[in-house]
């Protein structure tokens, strides 16, 4: 297996695995936010802001994987 084949196999796999992690994390965070909003609907605005901030952090980790993909995708031939 040469270098280009290894890269072409592993780069999309890396992005996919990063997506699994962030899917789990964001799902848990948004689930707790929904629950909290159901318990106290008056605080829904603040909870929503916190949820969006948390989701953006977790999204950023997946995007780091995507950035690595773009950086290395030029080396596949």
């Amino acid at each position: 297996m040469n270098f280009a084949t290894a890269l072409a196999l592993s780069l999309p796999l890396a992005v996919g695995i990063a997506a699994i992690g962030s899917g789990l994390g964001i799902g848990k965070a948004v689930g707790s936010a929904m629950e909290a909003m159901g318990r106290q609907p008056e605080a829904a605005g603040k909870i929503q802001i916190g949820m969006i901030i948390g989701a953006a952090f977790m999204e950023a980790l997946t995007i780091y994987a995507l950035v690595v993909f773009f950086l290395l995708s030029g080396k596949i031939s």
């Binding site: 603040k46 901030i53 950023a60 995007i63 995507l66 773009f70 030029g74």
Partner: protein, 270 residues
Amino acid sequence: MLCLPLLEAGSEGPPELPSILTVVVEALKAPFERLLAALPFKIPFEAAEYVLFFVIVIIFLFVFIRIALIGRSIRPKSRLYLMFEVFADYLKDLFGGILGPAEIDKYLPFVGTIFIYILTMNLAGIFLLMRSPTSSFSTNFGIAVCVFVYVQFNGIRRNGPWRYFLHFVGDPWWLFPLSLPLHIIGELIKPLTLSLRLFGNIFGEDILVGAFSLLVAFVPLHTPFLFLALLTSIVQAGIFSLLTAVYILLLLPHEEHPPALSARAEHQSA
């Protein structure tokens, strides 16, 4: 769609919709081919379009806000001015929730400017034939370095140099060979993560829109992704500025117990 031949033309990298500069350069390239080849240096048209839109956004914001400021008075009647006032109040509430009402007046100009600036730059990329300057890493890194320098300088100014250094040492001072490098690296990585997060989101949206508009000719298949780009542009601008406010807050001098908790403890014991 006239974008299709131009998308193929710039197809060494990932697919992106062309901007006005690319269109103009491709259209006018033919007569100047020999002149451009004869020059001793290479004109960086790809980098120039980010700088061009950077300047366009600055000029647009300046002109727009100046026009709105004409209606400024004690009892303003101009609706444009009132819109900006509502916007500024909203930003003051948003960042006031993080920085606290005592500190917000000092830091709102910086943090609010970063928010408006990055928001406009992100939204510029959604329009036809325009490109967001934030879709290049250099722009974001420049803004993040400004934030980093401001936050550290503010920390030194508010805390004094010795207490600022004590921030990096942490609570059990005898752990300082461990906590000092960790904290320093943690501070240094903040501009990197700020800029990478913004770059990845906005550049990724550009690529997504570009790749989907390549799929079928003359059918705007990329429309749902334009809505997604709208959402992530606004959210990422908010995240960048909220994180700036949080980093400023982390380096401010704080007392041992937050005043709300101690007031409640006194109330319960009384």
